[in-house]
Symmetry: D2
Subunit: 297 residues, 4 copies
C-alpha cells in the first residue's frame, strides 16, 4: 500500500512503477491497482483507477500508462488476497465520487460481522459494493459516516473523524461477535486534496502492519533502481507513505507508530495523531515522530 502526493514529473511515475516491481516480487502476485488524480484536480475531479488480476511486474499496460500519467496524488496497491476471489472488482483501490480508498491488512473473522455491516449501510452504499472483500465493505462503512459522500466537500478533519468512527464501529462489532483474533486496519483514503492513513491493530500489545513515510523536495535516482529523497530547500513538495521503505534510502523513511492516524493536508503538512481508544498503549508508541494531537479524545 503506497501513496505519493505531489510528484513533480513523470519520473515519479516511473519510479512508482520500479518500486512496485521490487516490492511485489517477494510475496504478492494476486492482482494490483493504481489510482490517481489529474495533475491539477479541481474540486470535482474523480480519480482514475486501473486494476488488473495479473501481476504488476509483468503488466505492459501499467508500464505504458506509468510513462504517460502525471499526477499529484497516486495510490498503488498490490494484493495478497485474504478474502474474495481474484477478480478486478476485488482489487484496490476503489473510488466513490471523488473519494478513493485502499486497505492493507484484513478484518478478522469478517464473516461474523458482514451482515451487521451491510445492514448499517444506506441503500446507495449497500448497492455500491461490487466485489466481495472486507476492504471494499470497510470503504462502504467509511462512506456511511459521511453526510453526503457523493457531493460533499471534505476537509481533512471531516475525513479523519469518519475514519476513526469506521475503526470504532468495526471494533464494536468484533466485540459483540466475540472475535478474539486481531484485525489489521491500515486504511488510506483521499479526496484528491487531503489524505488520511491509519496504522492500526485492535490490540494493546501487538504491532500493526508496518507503515512508513518520507517527504522532501524531489526524488533522484542515484543509481539504477535506487532512489533518494532530497530536500533542496524548506519546501516539502513530495510526501510518500508506504508499507515498506522499498528501494529508497532507509534513512529517508520514518516509521509511523502503531495505532496512529496520519493526515496529509492540502498544503502538504503531515500530521500524526495517536488513536486514543481502548487499545491505546502509551508504552508502545515509539518516539520517532512528533505527535500533534491525539485522535478520539
Amino acid at each position: 500500500m503506497q501513496l505519493i502526493t505531489r510528484p513533480a514529473h513523470s519520473i515519479i511515475n516511473q519510479s512508482f512503477d520500479s518500486r512496485l516491481r521490487l516490492d511485489t516480487v517477494p510475496v504478492n502476485g494476486d492482482g494490483f491497482g493504481v489510482g490517481w488524480y489529474q495533475s491539477n484536480p479541481d474540486t470535482t475531479s474523480t480519480p482514475c483507477i486501473f486494476t488488473s488480476i495479473t501481476p504488476a511486474w509483468n503488466n505492459q499496460n501499467l508500464s505504458r500508462l506509468a510513462e504517460e500519467i502525471q499526477s499529484s496524488l497516486v495510490f498503488a496497491h498490490v494484493r495478497a488476497s485474504t478474502t474474495g476471489a481474484l477478480s478486478e472488482t476485488n482489487c484496490h483501490p476503489w473510488r466513490f465520487g471523488r473519494l478513493m480508498w485502499m486497505h492493507n491488512g484484513h478484518i478478522a473473522n469478517f464473516n461474523k460481522i458482514k451482515r451487521k455491516l451491510q445492514q448499517s449501510l444506506k441503500d446507495e452504499l449497500f448497492l455500491f459494493v461490487q466485489g466481495n472483500t472486507d476492504s471494499e465493505w470497510a470503504f462502504a462503512l467509511f462512506l456511511n459516516q459521511l453526510e453526503d459522500p457523493i457531493n460533499g466537500q471534505f476537509d481533512h478533519e471531516t475525513l479523519k473523524i469518519a475514519m476513526l468512527k469506521t475503526i470504532d464501529q468495526l471494533n464494536n462489532w468484533a466485540e459483540e461477535a466475540g472475535i478474539h483474533e486481531f484485525s489489521l486496519l491500515n486504511f488510506a483514503v483521499t479526496d484528491g486534496h487531503s489524505v488520511i492513513c491509519t496504522r492500526y491493530i485492535n490490540s494493546k500489545t501487538e504491532e500493526a502492519a508496518s507503515l512508513y513515510f518520507s517527504s522532501g523536495t524531489r526524488f533522484t535516482e542515484y543509481k539504477p533502481g535506487h532512489y533518494r529523497m532530497t530536500k533542496a530547500d524548506k519546501r516539502e513538495d513530495i510526501v510518500l507513505v508506504a508499507s515498506e521503505p522499498l528501494t529508497f534510502e532507509k534513512a529517508d523513511w520514518l516509521t509511523i507508530p502503531t495505532n496512529t492516524c496520519l493526515v496529509i493536508t492540502p498544503k502538504l503538512n503531515v500530521l500524526l495523531f495517536p488513536i486514543k481508544d481502548q487499545f491505546y498503549n502509551i508504552h508502545r508508541v515509539k518516539k520517532k515522530c512528533i505527535f500533534f494531537n491525539s485522535c478520539n479524545e
Copy 2:
C-alpha cells in the same frame, strides 16, 4: 443456457463446443462457463466448473478440455451481463456441494429486493455467494429452500418444489417492492441425477425467454457443424435443453411453453408441468407438449 444429459461419447463434447461457437457470436461476449459431472457420478460427486471472462469461441483451454471430457451431464452458459462486473465469480454455472445452477434472464429491479433476499438466507448461504449477480443470489435463495443443501439426497420432486418456492418468493418480494418490470426466470438446477428447468416470466401475457428441448438416441453430424438427433430405437439416451435450437435440425426441437417447469428424471423421463400461480394463463400455453401434472396446485 444449455444442458445435455447422457451424451454417449466425447463427440458430444465436441459438439457442445461447436454449438457454443455458433451460439455465442451474435450477442454474447461477456464470459462463459461450463459445468459437468464425471461419466459415472456416484451420489457424492461434485460437478467440475470451468469459467472464463474471455469469449468461449476463442478459448483454447475450453477447446482442449472439450476434447477430453466425457460426461453424462453438462451445463453450458454464455453470459451477456445484466448485473455484476465481468469476473470469473460472476460467470454461470455455480455449484454448491453436488448441486449446480444457472440462469438465463434477469430479476427485474434486483437492487430493490437484494437486502430482503440476503436477510432471508441462512448464514452459510449468505456467506457462500462470492460474486455480485442476481443469478447467484437466486441460487442461494433456492438452496435456502432445501433442508440440507450440502449433504442431503435429493429426488426430482424435492428439487422441483424448491424451484417453485424460489420463484414464488421472488414474486412476493417483487410485489412488496412495487416492481412492475417483468423478471425473466429461466433457471436450471441439477444434482447430477435429476434436472429441473424453468421457462418463466412473472406476467400473464408476455412470453418468457425461449427454451427448447430435444431427445433421442444419438447425435450425428450429417454435414460439418450440423447435427441431427437420431432415434435408433425406443431408448432415449440423450436429452438436450437449450435456449436456442442452435445448429441442429429445427424439427428435432420442441418449444417449452412459457411458465413451465421441465423435469428430467434420473431415468431420462422428461416431464413438463405448467406453473399454476397467479401468472398462469391457460390461453398462452401452446399445445406442443404433453403436460403430466401441474405445478403449484
Copy 3:
C-alpha cells in the same frame, strides 16, 4: 478501426468509448486496443497503448481511462481474430518509438509469405515483433521501409511512400507464392503528427473493407449516444476515420474509395490519393472525393 485527430476535450474520449460499445457488439469480442498521444505531443512523444483480451464494452479500466485521457490523436481497434491467439500481444495497435500502427483486414495465406517477410527484416525489426499476427508483421515490414524508424523525423510524404512500398512488397510476395485469395489491407499509421491510412485490396474488381471519414469543428451529442459533427466555421479541428459510420449522422461521413491512400497532415489537411498499381481500376473509383494526386505514379 477508428482514429480521431484533434478532439477538443475529454467529451471526445467519452464518445469514442460510446462508439466502441455500439460498434463492437455485433461482431467483435476478441480483444481490443486503444493508443493515444498526449494532448500536446512534442517531437519525441511516444504513444500510450492500452490493450485487453476482454471485450471493450465491459472493460472498466477502459471506461475509467476514457474519462481521463485528453488526446489530440487516438487510434482504437476492436479485434475479430483472423490469425494469432487471443493475447494482449496480438491486440492492435502496436507502437515502435513514436510510430503507431493498426490493421483492419488480413493478409491472405499469410503462412506462405511469413518466412520471406521475416527474412527481409533488419534484425531489430525481426526481434521487435512480440505476437503472432499478420498485422504486426506487416508493421515490421512497414518499419523496414524507413531509414531510421526509431529516431527519424517523418513527414507525411515519407510515411506515405513507406506505406505504399509495404503494400507493393506484400503484393509481390503473394504473386511469387501463387496466392489467389485477396488480401484486405486497410492499414493506419501515425507518428503523432501525420496519419496515413489505406483502403486497399489486391484485386481490380472487388471492394476493400469499408473506410469512412468525417471532419468538422466539433462533435455534439444531440441525443443520448448519437453524435453529429458540426462545422461552426472554416476551421476543421477534428478528423475522424472509421471502418463504419458508427452512430453518427450518415450524412457526416464520406466513403473513402477502394484502393486509396488517405493522408492527414499535421495541419489537418486531408488528402486522398488513388493507389495506381496493377490493381488500379478507374471505373471502380467512386467520385465522392476529390483526389489530390495519385500514389505510385
Copy 4:
C-alpha cells in the same frame, strides 16, 4: 517444472495442486500450465493442456479441475518469465500431436540464434509456434529432429536421441554466434508413454538448474500439506521429477546430476545417462545415481 507418472488416484492430483501452491509462492507468478493424458491413454491420445496467465495458487478453475482429473502422466509448469510477454500462448507445456514439452531455464542470448533456428525448421514446425519464447522454439527444434512428429510412434530411444540432437544443435549455434553466457536447458518431453528429461548447462564447471526425482508405490499425506513416498512392495508405481523437492520428505528425493538425461520407460524404469558432449566433466558428476549408459557416445 514437475512431472508425475502413474499417480494412482485423484489424491495425486490434489497433491500436485498443493505442491504447486507451495512451490510457486516464493518466486513465480507469471502464469502456469498443466498438461495430462487420460488415465488409460491409447497410442493416439493427445494430452490436454490448461494454461493461465494468473497465478496458480489462486486459480479456481485449476483447483476444480485438479479435483476431477485422473491421469497417469502430468506435466506442471510455473513460469517466471525470461522471454516472451505474459500470455497463454507463452505458458508451458506445449503439445504437438501426442507429444508434450516444457522447459525450465533459458537459452542464453536467444535473439542471436532465433533466425537460424527458425530457418532450420520444416514449414509445418515453423508455422506451429504460436508464442514468442525460446522454450517453444526449442520444442519446434526438437520436433524437427523427428521423422514424423505428428503421426510417428516413438520409443524412448528415439525421443532421447532427438533430445540430445536438440541440445547439440543449440550448442553449435551458440558457438557460431559467439555467445558466452550459459544456457540452462532442463527440458522434459513425453509422448504419454515414455518421458525424457534433461538437466543440462553448456558449461564444464557450472551447475545446471536443479532437478530431482522420487519413485515409490504411493503417496501418503502424513500431515496436512506434507507428503511422503512409500514403497509398499517392489513395484514402483509412481515416478516424480521436479525442479525442487517441494514439500515431500527430502530423503525421498534423489538429485539428478548436472548434464544428465533421465529416461522413464513405459514400464516405469528410470534410466540416467550422462550427456557426454564437449561440456562433460567426470569430476562434476555426483555419485548419487547409478548411470546405465552414457549419452552421445
